[in-house]
């Protein structure tokens, strides 16, 4: 029913999105914690930087990524010496997806961190738990629903990312052709409408599945941390 190129696009999208979410989750938690709990010089600037991909045209973000992480970019050239290449590779698609989803993840986690009662953390410290132990055993479990929500949002954003991805890593079938890029490519090809329609249905199915699973997970986690 599906052609190999269509399967390849779906598989690549899933891989790109999963890697993007898993890799950006730890820094997202760290930045959310900094923004929610610490007052420091540059707090506003950091917040603005994190939110930038949300307001910039995706093409601009993609182009900036190309300038920075491309083979001749400042970071890209350095990383290439270590064998890490982003431009025109699926890893680049994952980087673009991570950057675009980052503000959504940070936002969801930060909101849940701000809802955690700091007096519970104070209570943990009087019981002998240091800062790291308190974070791991009290704060982290309490914000688990927020982390989950952030991850789901980030995943959805990554699955749908198009502008920054196509600018940064182009649209190479089997390598950087994600689901949205494939639909776009099929629409540009005479006789490609059938493929485009099938991929569209697939995208709808994946999105629906993700929503159902995340709702179920969210309920379970909320019950586990005693907030439901």
């Amino acid at each position: 029913m599906f052609e190999p190129a269509e399967w390849a696009a779906l598989a690549l999208s899933l891989r790109v999105s999963l890697v993007a979410v898993l890799c950006s989750l730890p820094p997202a938690i760290a930045i959310a914690w900094l923004l929610a709990r610490c007052r420091f010089w540059g707090h506003g600037l950091l917040s603005a930087l994190v939110h930038l991909p949300l307001v910039l045209p995706p093409v601009v973000t993609g182009y900036l990524l190309l300038l920075t992480f491309g083979r001749n970019g400042a970071v890209g050239a350095f990383l290439a010496e270590w064998g890490v290449v982003f431009a025109f590779r699926w890893t680049g698609a994952a980087l673009a997806a991570a950057i675009m989803g980052f503000p959504l993840m940070v936002r969801a986690i930060r909101l849940s961190l701000e809802a955690v009662d700091p007096r519970l953390e104070a209570a943990a410290s009087t019981l002998g738990a240091g800062r790291i132990a308190t974070f791991a055993r009290v704060t982290l479990p309490l914000i688990a629903p927020g982390i989950l929500a952030g991850a789901v949002l980030g995943f959805a954003k990554a699955m749908g990312e198009f502008g920054a991805t196509i600018t940064f890593v182009a649209n190479i079938p089997g390598q950087t052709q994600t689901l949205p890029s494939a639909i776009y490519a099929f629409l540009q090809t005479p006789g490609g409408e059938d493929s485009a329609l099938r991929l569209t249905l697939l995208a709808v199915a994946v999105a629906l599945g993700a929503v159902v699973v995340s709702e179920w997970l969210a309920r379970r986690v909320a019950r586990r941390v005693g907030q439901a």
Binding site: R119, S125, T126, G128, V138, G226, Q227
Partner: protein, 364 residues
């Protein structure tokens, strides 16, 4: 284990400037809301750093602003029971208790888990979630959790303030048991004279950020000068009594140093020592031994001191055997009776002068 505290801090217009010692036993930090009690408790626990201060626990310096020493809360080994319990909502009761035990130093002395569970009556609650517990149950779990961390000192910040009257009466016997068996010194922060009268050995009276009085509870509470601070309805003296026997008509006979009291049935076996509080407003004075009076409690006393406040009342401190009894009468009555220090007279107590909630176990 003694806790020595001196600290100073300014919060806008309000300045805190106190010094006191606490322990062994239960030391009450007493004062109205806004007197600085919770700030002191938090400073001791390490949750608040005052501008200046020094806090020492049995030779360990927890805070010394002059020497730039400020030990983190988690290293101080000061357990805290907060007014709002602060149980971890993501853990059940057993999980909360395990959290307390996890960071306890190996080999630290103290009652074991089974003993603490029994002492606080929470064996049945282990699999419950904090959200399903009543206020009193939450506080008992919070107390057990704090004890399992094997603190060298326990701070209890208004632990009963969030509970209603009957719940308070339920939990007070647990606190008495804890005081007598856990052998952890306690700083008990409260604005309730009744709780302090039942639990504390010593009291530190705070007013507007200053220590006004400090000393044994029986001495400070029976001081007539304390009446305006405590409130005329709450003022009363505290002393020990021994249960002599229970009579068939529902009354109990209690021996005090200056005679025998007959009170409605108290909850203690004959021979037991209990602690009672007698409200000053329920004590009458008579120059001669009255006859044909309904009260069975007529005790010979001697006037020690009088204190006239701003109102129409006078607080009279009376010597009753080795104890002190506090009476509150009108200034007019004091003048007409010619009350003066050294005068012998008779104190008359209504059987209701000792509220039910004010009969507690004596500190063993």
């Amino acid at each position: 284990m003694t806790l020595a505290v001196t600290l100073a801090h300014a919060f806008g217009d309000f300045t805190l400037d106190v010094g006191f010692k606490a322990g062994p036993g239960v030391t009450a930090l007493f004062g109205p809301s806004g007197a600085g009690k919770t700030s002191i408790a938090n400073a001791v626990a390490g949750l608040f750093t005052p501008r200046e201060g020094r806090i020492e626990l049995g030779g360990r310096v927890l805070l010394d602003t002059a020497a730039k020493v400020n030990m983190s809360a988690h290293k101080r080994r000061i357990g805290v029971v907060f007014q709002d319990g602060r149980l971890f909502p993501h853990l059940d009761v057993a999980g909360n208790l395990a959290f307390g035990a996890r960071y306890a130093p190996r080999g630290a002395p103290g009652p074991d888990r089974a003993e603490i569970l029994a002492l606080l009556g929470i064996e049945e609650l282990l699999s419950r979630r904090p959200g399903t517990l009543s206020g009193g149950e939450k506080q008992r779990v919070a107390l057990a959790r704090a004890l399992l961390a094997r603190p060298e000192f326990l701070v209890m910040d208004e632990p009963l303030a969030a509970l209603d009257g009957p719940r308070k009466d339920d939990i007070l016997p647990y606190l008495e048991g804890l005081r007598d068996r856990a052998r952890v010194p306690i700083l008990y922060v409260s604005h309730s004279v009744s709780e302090i009268a039942r639990l504390a050995d010593r009291i530190v009276v705070l007013r507007e950020g200053r220590v006004l009085r400090a000393g044994p509870v029986a001495d400070v509470l029976s001081d007539p000068e304390m009446v305006p601070l405590v409130g005329v309805r709450e003022a009363g003296s505290v002393f020990e009594a021994q249960v002599l026997g229970h009579d068939a008509d529902g009354l109990s006979r209690l021996g005090v140093s200056g005679g025998t009291l007959i009170l409605p049935r108290v909850d203690a076996d004959p021979g037991k020592h209990i602690r009672i509080r007698v409200l000053a407003q329920d004590v009458l004075l008579s120059l001669e031994s009255p006859k044909g009076l309904s009260s069975r409690n007529i005790l010979p006393v001697r006037v020690e001191a009088l204190h006239q406040g701003a109102g129409p009342g006078v607080a009279v401190s009376l010597r009753l055997g080795e104890d002190r009894l506090l009476a509150r009468i009108t200034a007019r009555a004091a003048a007409e009776l010619g009350l003066r220090p050294g005068l012998a007279c008779h104190a008359i107590l209504k059987a209701t002068a000792v509220p039910r909630g004010d009969v507690g176990a004596a500190h063993e």
